[in-house]
Symmetry: C3
Subunit: 139 residues, 3 copies
């Protein structure tokens, strides 16, 4: 069994953003030499998500409206977590809704995707350096 590990780094200037990382994950799979296996892609921070959906800016706007309606950033005092001095309780909740990770099949050395699947890093508490882990296993 082969394995390969790679970190992707981000420093998003805005509080929230959706960044397409499909190409970076494909590169990690190519580097691994794995032809048949699985790749795990996960946020290493608990106020961010990795998910698979459409690379369409209107939809990303809809995601933003949806998540802000579910768990608004302000007023920050509505969350007990923010009594610790943080202001990112909403980001922890948004990450719960959108998920931490994806696992993707590798077939014939490539991401085994449907026609529109793209991998995104969902940042909900930007303005600092944060990481995504890519872990490939297989043969």
């Amino acid at each position: 069994m082969k394995s390969h590990r790679k970190e992707l780094w981000f420093n998003v200037p805005t509080r929230r953003a959706y960044i397409n990382i499909t190409r970076e994950v494909e590169e990690a799979v190519e580097e691994s030499g794995v032809r048949e296996g699985l790749v795990l892609v996960n946020a290493m921070h608990i106020s961010a998500s990795v998910f698979i959906n459409d690379d369409e800016s209107g939809l990303h706007h809809d995601f933003e409206v949806f998540l802000e309606r579910l768990a608004p950033h302000e007023p920050v005092g509505q969350y007990r977590h923010n009594d610790t001095g943080e202001d990112n309780a909403d980001a922890h909740i948004k990450r719960q809704v959108f998920g931490r990770e994806v696992v993707v099949s590798i077939t014939d050395g490539r991401l085994d995707f449907g026609p529109w699947e793209q991998i995104f890093y969902g940042e909900f508490d930007g303005g600092r350096r944060k990481r995504v882990l890519v872990k490939v296993i297989g043969e």
Copy 2:
């Protein structure tokens, strides 16, 4: 390490449905010959989900009410994604809430499940042919 790949095809006549695919996944595991490993089951389309919950029709009605309240299909003009000519922004959001994939343990050649776990394909934008990927790895 063994691996096995299978596609399940659906053409749901209604816009939304929850379809039990546990037996099809079990068959893919049996075909693989894997005794110890993992099976990934994921929607290959970004307006559908794969998830594990109860095979009880009342609960599926409750899921329907819950998801329509969170992200209603209509009016379709409330979503910017639908400015592209699509009418399925709600389906992309519902899929985010219910998730893309499940990973299930294989032990002694079988799905390693608790008493009530069943795997479902959640269709949120039916009326056309769509696929689920089953990928088995192990030994």
Copy 3:
């Protein structure tokens, strides 16, 4: 390829709770002898979650408020599932939002985590014995 399986048992006296199980998962990884691989951690019951987030009691309070607002336990008659004699439809829905499972990378024999990642068992329908499955695969 090595594999290792372990069950964690819970009997939460309250209806809902968030229990840090990171140490138990680390122990299972150590027992497995796997140095490079993946560990799947999933609820074996469909009214509970396994997820990764912050070990901060204020945030857990915020999770509680969030989930009760999305899918309130009472009145139990609002859910068709509860016509079966159950009163846990809300727990099935909360589990959908928070997810069934996590998959974590194992690198150098350890959970490959960011600085704050901790694994939680989320109980949404306590008062009875329930299980989490830990499955390790790798080399």
